[in-house]
């Protein structure tokens, strides 16, 4: 199934929010293709009758008591922010001309 094209890699990079360069597209296209070809072997044994395992330790509905606990204060929460402003996270615009 592999044979991943340069265009497909560009599409993946867009989905993953990675502004990759042209050189990276060439490099990654070849490498992703080689990796996918190697790992496609999982299809050889994954028959319909086998249930999937998503987690090694199957635990469901792990709850803790709903109690008030100390959390981060505003200053702590903003301490690592790239550009805090007036006690808030300043972020670039999320709406734009791009229809």
């Amino acid at each position: 199934m592999p044979n991943i094209s340069r265009d497909e890699v560009a599409h993946l990079a867009r989905l993953a929010r990675l502004a990759v360069t042209d050189e990276e597209l060439d490099l990654f296209a070849g490498q992703l293709d080689a990796i996918l070809e190697a790992v496609a072997a999982v299809g050889d044994v994954a028959t319909d009758d086998i249930p999937p395992t998503s987690h090694a330790v199957p635990l469901t509905n792990v709850f803790r008591a709903d109690e008030v606990r100390p959390g981060l204060g505003q200053q702590q929460a903003l301490a690592g922010a790239p550009f805090p402003e007036e006690g808030r996270f300043r972020v670039p615009r999320i709406l734009g001309e791009e229809a």
Binding site: I35, A56, A81
Partner: protein
């Protein structure tokens, strides 16, 4: 174990002692925790320019912790734990409040976490002295530490070779006697493989056995923190400090820590009668370095001589483990690393007031992530995308089921499984950086235990006869039966030390590392 007699503090290099020995000296007040800490800080200053095991050291806080331990002991208080006053190095993927935590990535350069991970909190509560943060492949993705954005770590056995990865910094720090204990994390072998190639002990506890709270996530269903040490006993002592249920981690197992220290004491008697050991057929043979296989077969002979019953066990699905892993781990990584969006913390690039959040995000991630991280994010994005999901991620999850079944069937007949930890000894820096699949093969033997969630460790099994480099024996145990593998490893360690006249790690070549550093500083790595 070698701590049968107390060493002479006056003429002993403190950095050469095991953690248990140091603890004994500190707790009996023959040596102060401050002296022990200073000796390790001095050693780091001497050799780390060449080894580069640390990304950050914190002498001031380390000495303050040590002084507190000394004061408490002087005031007649009992030690906070069996390891109180002993230094430890922490992989830079675990958050430390107010101390940089980079995950080996430009994305988090200079970030000061606002909270401690549970592992770090437990280390502090137990009176351990945190020396600093160790180097690693970026976001724990790699098998050589060459993917660190801050330059590779070098293997103390041969500075031109890799120390393993992703936790190469933690294991190299042990082998270079910069720290007696370290914390690692193991997603596909990142504790055990570095342990094997540096001749140190590395333990991946049962998944859920040690809290993941504050462990920066790479692949959440596989990531597991664990102890790194130079002796099996030291690893067990550290395991009991960091292990146990944590309500802050919903995947933490709500059961007592397996009795690993007691198991080491039992194993140290050198008697393995009644223990059934399974040799995994699929984890040896073609593709393995001959010297590694000879070391492995000799180790199996030793286990037999100690009284263990050895049988061969077939786990046919293991041959698909690597493929399943390199679909599951990247898939989870592509989701986990979406958190690095340049908005709330970490790097932000290209925010010129005109660009949109999405553009800033893409530019930041392009600038902040290295090639291996980008590769895995895209691989995971592909494996999870509609149209490919069933063939890739879905099939990988089915293989995971098959691997669990193989383990379950094997453990019906044996107590532990053994294999070489790695197919080869440490390879040369640069040898595999341009060939991702070749790099991935380093984790061939370690991955099955991550996929199934059971416990596994690597214990030194001598030097490969063709290159003189360390080889590791992997011992695997069922879920929450970690003590079984500790018992076997401890018995094996005693037998090897007796046969060789002392621990192998004490024979690390003591080259003129500072001279090497001067030579290397001319060469861009």
């Amino acid at each position: 174990m070698s701590q049968t007699s107390s060493p002479e503090p006056a003429n002993t290099d403190l950095t050469r002692l095991a953690a248990a020995e140091l603890a004994e000296l500190v707790h009996s007040r023959q040596v102060s925790a401050v002296e022990v800490t200073q000796a390790h800080l001095d050693r780091i200053a001497e050799v780390d320019p060449a080894v580069h095991a640390f990304l950050h050291t914190d002498a001031e806080n380390a000495l303050a912790t040590a002084r507190q331990v000394d004061q408490d002991l002087a005031a007649g208080q009992a030690p906070a734990s069996p390891l109180a006053g002993v230094p430890v190095a922490v992989k830079d993927v675990l958050t430390t409040e107010g101390t940089p935590t980079t995950c080996g990535s430009r994305m988090l350069e200079g970030w000061l976490p606002p909270y401690d991970s549970t592992v770090v909190r437990r280390l502090r509560a137990a009176g351990l002295v945190i020396l600093g943060k160790t180097n690693m492949d970026e976001f724990a993705m790699g098998s050589s530490t060459e993917n660190s954005a801050f330059g590779p770590t070098r293997n103390p056995w041969d500075l031109d070779r890799i120390p393993g990865g992703s936790g190469g910094g933690s294991s190299a720090a042990l082998a270079a006697f910069e720290a007696p204990l370290a914390i690692g994390t193991d997603t596909g072998g990142s504790i055990r493989q570095p342990g094997a190639v540096t001749g140190t002990v590395g333990v991946k506890p049962t998944y859920g056995g040690v809290s993941r709270y504050g462990l920066v996530a790479f692949s959440s269903s596989l990531d597991q923190a664990g102890p790194c040490a130079r002796t099996v006993l030291d690893a067990a002592l550290l395991h009991e400090v960091i292990g146990g249920h944590d309500p802050l981690d919903s995947t933490s197992i709500d059961q007592p820590v397996p009795p690993v220290v007691a198991a080491v004491r039992e194993g140290a008697t050198g008697d393995l009668r009644g223990v059934r050991v399974g040799v995994v057929t699929q984890l040896s043979g073609e593709g393995y370095q001959p010297g590694v296989l000879r070391s492995f077969h000799a180790a199996v002979d030793t286990l037999r001589e100690l009284g263990a019953e050895v049988v061969e066990v077939s786990c046919p699905s293991f041959q698909y483990a690597l493929s399943a892993y390199y679909l599951i781990a990247p898939s989870e990584c592509s989701s986990n690393l979406a958190r690095f969006d340049a908005m709330r913390y970490g790097l932000r690039v290209g925010d010129d007031g005109n660009r949109s959040a999405e553009e800033v995000m893409s530019l930041t991630r392009e600038a902040g992530f290295g090639p291996e991280v980008k590769r895995r994010i895209m691989l995971g994005t592909y494996a999870l995308s509609s149209g490919y999901y069933d063939a890739y991620y879905g099939s990988a999850q089915k293989v995971r089921t098959l691997i669990k079944r193989d383990f379950d069937a094997a453990f019906e007949n044996v107590d532990v499984l053994v294999s070489p930890t790695t197919p080869t000894t440490a390879f040369r820096l640069g040898e595999r950086v341009n060939d991702p699949m070749a790099m991935y093969l380093a984790d061939l033997c370690t991955i099955p235990a991550n996929l199934a969630g059971n416990a596994a460790l690597s214990v030194p099994s001598g030097l490969s006869d063709e290159d003189g480099l360390p080889v590791g024996l992997q011992v695997m145990a069922p879920v929450m039966q970690d003590h079984r593998m500790y018992r076997v490893a401890a018995a094996y360690e005693v037998a090897r030390n007796a046969a060789e006249g002392g621990p192998q790690i004490q024979r690390v070549p003591q080259a003129d590392w500072s001279a090497h550093n001067r030579a290397q500083s001319e060469v861009a790595v």
